[in-house]
Amino acid sequence: MLEISHLNVWYGVTEVLRDVSFQVPSNGIVALLGGNGSGKTTILNALSGLVPPRAGSVKFEGREMAGWAPDRMVKAGIVQVPQGREVFSQMTVEENLELGAATRPGGRQIQADIDEIYSLFPRLKEKRTKRAGSLSGGEQQQVAIGRALMARPRLLLMDEPSVGLAPIIVEAMIETLVGLHARGLTMLIVEQNVGVAAAVAEDAHVLKDGAIAYSGRAKELINNPEVLASYLGR
């Protein structure tokens, strides 16, 4: 479904991604692991159109999309749930969800989709008129995921979904992700928490200094002492 080949990204004079190639199969979940500054988030940002690649190819469902603007990426079905949730804190939960459908024409279907999000996250329905900034971290994560789903994505990019959440909330979130996967959603997840990556992902790639250092099955990778010691600092 997604095919990244020889991707290079530079920030000014610094090369932050070097010759990155990997694939995300349709209905698969792939995790990107690695320490701070290894380039994980940059891959997601390149896929969201926030940073233009200098070289390489990004093919999604057969279409070349490298360098597309963010709105075109969303319209094509690639939607990111950013690190730190990034909800519209001063707007209500329902407005946040409505804004998730910004690239779709307005209409009755949007309200039907909001109701579906409420059935997935009943807590959000109770708090639909509350400002998103007043919600707990776990609830804000639900808003962020719900908002992304409102764009009807085919590939969901999740950037560090477990950061800053209590273990019990992380477990609930893993359940949500597994449930979304069961509904046919394809995901690319950036995680520092190898436990979360192992719980949800099938394949994983370990990044170091902007390049892929190790690739394999997620469960095998996180039990590999060499990978843990060399690349994940464990």
């Binding site: 969201s48 926030l50 603007a69 963010p70 709105d71 990426m73 969303v74 319209k75 939607v79 990111q80 950013p82 990034e86 909800v87 519209f88 804190s89 001063q90 707007m91 407005e95 409505e98 804004l99 998730g100 910004a102 690239t103 307005g106 908002r147 992304a148 764009a151």
Partner: protein, 309 residues
């Protein structure tokens, strides 16, 4: 004795008349300052930039209305809409010339300097477009300039019309933000530009329309104010200072704050001019800016958030 009593009563009546006159005049100009402040606030909230050419949007609004109404004979209400549309277009030009190309270089100072430069260019254009008669043009009065009694206050009927229309513009502005998709996109972009980009909102386009909407409200204020004042190419800076004072008093990022700030400033100006000295009318705005900076750094409503000017 009787003559003395009647004199006192006459004095009391005239004091009451003067007070009511000052209140009505203060509310009217305050409502217009509020509109100017609204435009500044909406642009600042979205872009973190104070539009130093905002006063010129106001000035253009007034001159366009003058051209349509007084020179071409277009009915007042229609010329109001036409002038607002022209001001909207000038706001968009401001974005394209002074904001978008310079924001890419990420230096706020160059954007601010470009805005200041643009305000001078706009002033020059107004001078050449409206010629030597561009100095203090009188706009034809809307209705009879005779004063009437309203709710126990002596007011100019024209002031009532202006005040009512200013409220209508404010309500339309609020409804635009609350109910329309474009308004929601603007709120979302002001709240969190990164998240707005990630949901697929074209943030640069939102900035452009924000400049347009800000200018349109300033243009509406100018068309409403024109019949009760004189137009000149230099009027923009004066109105910018008043709008900025009202916006600062309201906290610079608060829309209700901008409205309250405008009304307070309008009343203060008229009271100071009426009871202390007429010269104070022009300096009141500066006093308000200084007072707000020192004693109310987060504005009248004590809103959270950092202020970056």
């Amino acid at each position: 004795m009787e003559a003395g009593g009647a004199g006192r009563r006459r004095q009391q009546v005239s004091q009451m008349e003067m007070f009511s006159y000052l209140i009505a005049a203060g509310l009217t100009t305050g409502a217009l300052y509020a509109l100017v402040a609204l435009g500044l606030v909406v642009v600042f909230k979205a872009t973190q930039v104070v539009n130093f050419a905002h006063g010129e949007m106001f000035m253009f609004g007034g001159f366009f209305a003058y051209s349509f109404h007084a020179m071409l004979g277009v009915p007042y209400v229609l010329s109001l809409f036409m002038a607002v549309a022209c001001a909207f277009a000038i706001g968009i030009v401001t974005d394209r010339i002074a904001f978008r190309p310079l924001m890419r270089s990420q230096t706020l100072v160059s954007v601010l300097l470009a805005m200041v430069g643009l305000s001078f260019i706009f002033k020059g254009i107004a001078r050449s477009a409206w010629g030597s008669s561009g100095h203090h043009i009188a706009f034809p009065p809307l209705i009879s300039p005779e004063p009437i009694m309203f709710l126990g206050l002596m007011v100019m009927s024209q002031e009532l019309v202006v005040m009512g229309a200013a409220v209508v513009v404010m309500v339309a502005f609020a409804l635009f933000f609350k109910l329309t998709r474009a308004g929601k996109f603007m709120q979302a972009t002001a709240n969190n530009p990164k998240a707005a980009t990630l949901v697929g909102i074209r943030v640069d386009r939102v900035y452009m329309y924000t400049f347009g909407v800000g200018a349109a409200v300033a243009g509406a204020a100018a068309v409403l104010m024109a019949p009760i004042t004189l137009l000149s190419p230099d009027i923009g800076f004066v109105l910018f200072v008043k709008g900025f004072a009202a916006a600062v008093l309201g906290g610079l990022t608060s829309i209700p704050g901008a409205i309250a700030g405008g009304i307070v400033l309008g009343l203060l100006e008229k009271m100071a001019a009426g009871y202390i000295h007429t010269g104070l009318e022009e300096v009141s705005a500066f006093v308000v800016i200084m007072f707000a900076m020192v004693f109310l750094p987060t504005g009248l409503f004590g809103l959270r958030g950092v202020r970056r000017v």
